[in-house]
Amino acid sequence: MDNEFRLANAGRIDRDRPIPFVFDGTEYLGYAGDTLASALLANGVHQVSRGVHSCRPRGILASGVTEPCALVQVEEPFDEPTLAATTVEVCAGLRARGLSGKGALTSRPDPARYDTMYAHADVLVVGGGPTGLLAALTAARAGARVMLLDDQSELGGDLLAETAPLEGRPPIAWVSGVCAELAGCQDVTVLPRTTAFGYYDDNYVVACERRTDHLGTAAPERTSRQRMWCIRARAVVLATGAHERSVAFSDNDRPGVMLAAAARTYLHRYGVLPGRRVVVFTTNDGAYQAAIDLAGAGVPVTALADARPEVPDDLAKACAAADIEVLAGHVVAGTRGDARISGACLAELRDGRLQGHREVDCDTVLVSGGWNPAVHLFSQAGGGLRYDSQLAAFVPARARQRVFVGGAARGAVTLADCLADGARIGAQASRTVGLSADAAPMPAVLQRTPTPSTALWLVPDPSGDYRRHYVDLARDATVADIVRATDAGLRSVEHVKRYTTVGTGHEQGKTSGVLATGVVATILGVDPAELGTTTFRPPYTPVTFAALAGTDRGALHDPVRVTALHDWHVAAGAMFENVGQWKRPWYYPRPGEDMAAAVWRECVAARRSVAMMDASTLGKIDVQGRDAAEFLDRVYTTMMSTLRVGRIRYGLMCRADGMVFDDGTVIRLADNHFLLTTTTGNAAAVLDWLEEWLQTEWPHLRVYLTSVTEHWSTVALVGPRSRTVLRRLAGDLALDNASFPFMAWRDATLAGTTARVCRISFSGELAFEINVPWRHAQRIWTELCDAGADLGITPYGTETMHVLRAEKGYPIIGQDTDGTVTPQDLGLDWAVSKKKRDFIGKRSFSRPDTARGDRKHLVGLLPVDPDLLLPEGCQLVADAELPAPPVPMLGHVTSSYRSPALGRTFALALVEAGRHRVGRRIHAVVDDRPVPVIVTDPVFYDKEGARRDG
């Protein structure tokens, strides 16, 4: 029968909105407001899964995020593994199955959207129970920007399952009143279904809001399914409540064993009876109300075993009135049954021994081993804990951030104390952010002084067999496992955790962590205060990777940087290469061409006629100031102060350790004005590096650095006929070698556009780099295309650029170098000034290690087989026969291409004492096989440099 355990009227569910769902292949009916767990219980389904190792049947122990064993795999509407049934809201189209331990990731793409929201609050309140509500109300009334987060679908916390009147009304009426007032406040944000899961430095709290999960298949497409809230709060109020814990007794894992407060929640919030015949086992006052309420709902409570030798009078009387037998000084020693409990064994606990065993029939054992304040966030925030022996629990002690903890989260037991805490800390938090605040008035509530709990962690077993005294139901870890750990000499709870896996499951020990501490303390005969807890780390609850990624997925995963000419490249059919965040044209295949053919054609065009490349991604830094030349002398290995206005010089930068950091050109625009280029990938790093020296070491130098990388778009016009093409656009600008020599620059008007033209060559050919502001790039590019059309002007990409430069032996910093290479290793001694007194890196060139003769040098390699293209990165060894490992390595291939100019393959490599091996044969290991290569000079093409003048 549908919903046979559902009460006719009780609960917060909406009986007008029935929702069918499927669990383990069977269709059931739930209602809006149900969790999967409450709907299953309503339908009499107690066994949800099996133990991950033991395969024993497992039911529903808890009612919220603490659930250790009722795990499900949600299959529809979103595939999601390893969720607790107590945290899944019943929604349209829900289909789930029970899971023993581990779920499966789906291979289906997740169609949902996820996003992030940054928020700022004066007072952030975590937890919307009585404490949090009153704290938020107090802060809101003080005029604070308030955020109130609660992980449940509606606010109220334990008040959702409370029946004692508040201000003479049902508690939920009071909750509604507070919510209505908060909703009317400007600058108050209330977020239900939002779990604060991380508390980081400087009051930075991260929370996950489940925005549309509860709508199932009806979720709107454009709304993010989950949202990550990144909240910076000036003050934080933690009203995170407390988690009830179990006791380790024999067979305490059977379906039908449930935490007492969870039973009360199922009863009052969901209108569900957890069973038909109940035994209660408690160490504290808390479970009594569950027993009384269930009895009131018509469920026979066979016995209430209270481990304390004396029972509070008022509770004893209330039980008597409800026809509940209270057994003081008693425990539940064990359970029996198959898939579900059919009975429990009660016994008297005296002097640490059990006596007077008694069997009772029941289908449910409600247990309360005490309450652990939910100190997770407080502890993540750096707060210290102390053990409170009255509560038998760890409570917040010293805070390190501006955080206030109240209510059950600091160990308050009664509703009156929780409400008082909320008002007090709401006012305190408001005052610390400079607001004058009065505590919101306390609603009238029944006062009661609680009796202390007893610290009972473990029910002793006369047989000494503790293999079925479960501590962690998620990990199937028992007291016997802990005994094995302590027998092995472990004392620290951190070590016991790792040895036994207690507390490492999906709920990270919310029901088992402190229990494990208590069990270890019992075994070792020490006070739990000496042992402490394991470390509470984020996330408080499991968070999906999709939620963490937010919008950083697909096309928005990482910024794609494009040049002003990107659309032209796309239209021309370019294949693109990622260079850092930039998309650069790699090569431009014509129909039917593969990469090798396209690159070959592009290379030939550049060497024989004219070709052009978008070089806009080069970093560009404008340098001005009285001391600009002096500054550049200090940061480049090359002398820059002697550069004449109008001319350009190649420059190398090293780190102080003498290793090459970047290279580029320096053009002198005026006495105190330069423009530098950097490599594409290093632009930001170079600017940072220069600023660091300027600001921290040489603040007295008057130098100003400005990035102009995007301001200037750069077109490299390359090849023997580049001058012809340029002349067609350049008007009366003299382009002959005498008027416009190599490594000079001129400002010019090209086809009506102001441009800066530099005679720089990265290919060895006659070449010009034409710089125009971003908005003119498309025009100048198409003008050049048109002007060179009759000469077969050919756009080329980065691959051709690499071939052309490698044929000339020009290294690429970051490809042919790796941060362990000096200018001398590269054979660039000519770019290292001998005259300058000092520059960054100079001193390191005379360090013994840098001055070694057998360092790796950049050399050329010619495979003996001229068709063999060596893989970049392949290792180089001396001999054709590989000796037994370890094989001495000589170096590796850094660049490798097919050269149209050479008619064969070639490579650059870093080789130990490479310059001394020129002409010798070494071996490259290709597919585990040494193949012969000849070491050469790195310059393969036009050694005389005759071609750069055209």
Partner: protein, 90 residues
């Protein structure tokens, strides 16, 4: 972390990057140093448990380098101050 940039005010740590130990000055004349002394400048840095003066750069905003005293045990930034100023007594 929230880091107080001396120019832009408090900002998320994602806007900053780290520059290592502060107040390690580039030697006046590296050429007169022994290899040992130069190696000390290049490679040796303090690694205290507790307060540590560090360089940070507000790279995503004003691009200014500045110094911060950070407690390496708690990540708490005790003070930030401008380059050229000496570490505050904390």
């Amino acid at each position: 972390m929230l880091i107080e940039c001396p120019w832009c005010g408090p900002r998320d740590e994602t806007e900053f990057h780290y520059g290592g130990q502060a107040h390690v000055s580039y030697p006046d004349d590296p050429s007169v140093l022994t290899d040992e002394q130069w190696a000390r400048y290049l490679f040796y840095r303090d690694n205290p448990q507790g307060r540590f003066a560090e360089r940070w750069c507000h790279g995503s905003a004003c691009r200014r380098w500045f110094n911060a005293v950070r407690d390496t045990r708690t990540h708490q930034i005790v003070a930030t101050y401008r380059t050229g100023e000496s570490a505050p007594v904390t």
